[in-house]
């Protein structure tokens, strides 16, 4: 079932919007269209189907949109946010692992020593019903 959910999610043609900020209000209110929500659902296979979830998303976008106010004229883009740091190299020693029991406790479902992959929370029937939005 899981594999089929992934397949269907990937098969669906994505909407015209390639990133949600383009659909948000340029003033920074973070308004999100239904088309954007559908696009995100198809990428993540996570159902945003509640006002609360959409409101939280809009709030996050509005928060990030404040960055638009920063004047970046003449500022060279950085290759990395840690550009001024040295990359630490560790020696090739085994220092971790052997904690399967502890890790498997975090899993919703386990079979023997295996994690069981959770299905996406958009049901197959619902995904089949959804018409892929036309390309912009």
């Amino acid at each position: 079932m899981w594999a089929r959910v992934v397949r269907l999610g990937l098969r669906a043609r994505l909407g015209g919007c390639r990133g949600f900020t383009c659909k948000a209000d340029p003033q920074g209110s973070g308004q999100v269209t239904a088309e954007t929500i559908e696009h995100l659902e198809r990428l993540a296979l996570v159902d945003f189907g509640s006002r609360e979830a959409v409101a939280r998303l809009e709030k996050a976008i509005a928060f990030a949109d404040r960055l638009r106010g920063v004047d970046t004229d003449g500022v060279e883009p950085m290759e990395s946010v840690l550009e001024d740091r040295c990359l630490y190299l560790r020696s090739d020693d085994v220092t971790e692992g052997n904690c399967a029991e502890e890790l498997l406790q975090n899993s919703h479902r386990v079979v023997e020593e295996y994690f069981v992959a959770p299905p996406g929370n958009i049901s197959l029937a619902k995904l089949d019903e959804q018409e892929p939005s036309p390309r912009g």
């Binding site: 899981w2 692992g97 890790l103």
Partner: protein, 557 residues
Amino acid sequence: MAAHMLRWGCAGRRWALAYVDGGSCHGLGAPNDFTLSGMKGQSSMAPQPLITAQKPRKGEHEWAAVVGLEIHAQISSNSKLFSGSQVHFAAPPNSLVSFFDASLPGTLPVLNRRCVEAAVMTGLALNCRINKKSLFDRKHYFYADLPAGYQITQQRLPIAMNGSLTYGVRVGTKRSQVITRTVRIKQIQLEQDSGKSLHDDLRSQTLIDLNRAGVGLLEVVMEPDMTCGEEAATAVRELQLILQALGTSQANMAEGQLRVDANISVHHPGEPFGVRTEVKNLNSARFLAKAIDYEIQRQINELENGGEILNETRSFDSRLGCTMPMRDKEGKQDYRFMPEPNLPPLVLYDSASLPSGADLQQVINIDYIRERLPELPSVTREKLVEQYGMLPEHSFTLLNEVGLLEFFQNVIKETRAEPKLVTSWVLNTFLGYLKQQNLAVSESPVTPSALAELLTLLDGKVISSSAAKQVFEELWKSKSKTAAQIVSEKKLELMEDREALEQLCQAVMEGHPQVAMDVKKGNLKAINKLIGLVRKATQGRADPTVIKKILEEKLSS
């Protein structure tokens, strides 16, 4: 009238559509006699024969195939690329997983120095430009065996670029010549491996083992400079030998330490490249060659019949011998690459730019690694040709068969026989027996010492070459006996009694007067018949050169 059929062949850089009428081919033969004809009892998925009633006009059906490879080699290291958990094949599921590998919140990547050194070594061995500064990126995709939802890779600026790999392809009717070809290396990058998914169709669930998640990989991207399956397989084998010589990867395809994806397209010479397909997860050189050749044939077939090639991902079914579309790869992936925020740029140095007083555990000196590169397969082959006077194709065989070079060198060490004799026996008799019984060199019942002793006896004219073959057969069957024991038990020593040999020669001549007369009349080849009869009478224990000498003396008197 026999049905007319079309067949394609890879001869160097052209796939020519050749005309076959009832078995007579007016064109190039396909590699391994590969045809697109359907066979009785074949699966419906297998390709169907192409039927035509007309001879194609000259040049009308000429195709050029283009093959590029992406190769993932698992780095030989004790621990993973960004975590301190162990790298080990076939451990219990999820026993070699750290919190970082499982992507628990708050965990951070810490780069393994050994993996960087392995990438630099490999880049140098493949004539690449090593980038003094390289960057890490996140490649996002949604799959259960990738718990973070992204893979750390080097998309923008990889560790090594613009290299080349030279490999030898066997050509000629007996495939006895070797011509060298070069494939350009676009880039080599460091990246994490993903975990393993086991699909349990019975219970409709997917089980996840994260032992492999985070293991260091070298991705070697080759430019599309190859034209058929054999070239690709040979290039991969050469890369495998280089990685093994460097110690940067064990490159064992059976254990998934070397995984190959092939990009394949066809076009008419002089025209732009065609639409390419990608054949994924090819895990043996033989299947790689078969998959590529099949896919080239399939694409030509499709285009000749007015169809079109889809830009799709396919997998190779080794049982059916054909490629099929992968249903779970239908959507075009948007990987949403972004710089890895938790890793600064990777900066490498050379001797000139090395900062004074730097912590040597924290800097990697490209020149230091270059000076310590081990001998590469191409150099080993040159030495073999020079040292032992063997043909270049023999040196290729010695290196390409796992463990054969070591076996050969051990025999050389322990025998007094000439290197040419050793080469001949190792490559013909010994390797022939192995192939016949589908054994690896390590599984051979004949040890290097046993073969060395046998060749010393042969070289010292204690036994004849036919007796040596008998001894070898006995050695193959029984590990407990030495060559000398077998020789004395079976009384296989060369006859040293000249008088007895002369009597035998006389008896053979008298028994075959017509043959003796033919020799006297000038038919010198007829003497070989007499030599054979004498050898038969001595059960191969007489030296043919001595027999020939005696017969010539008797026949000339």
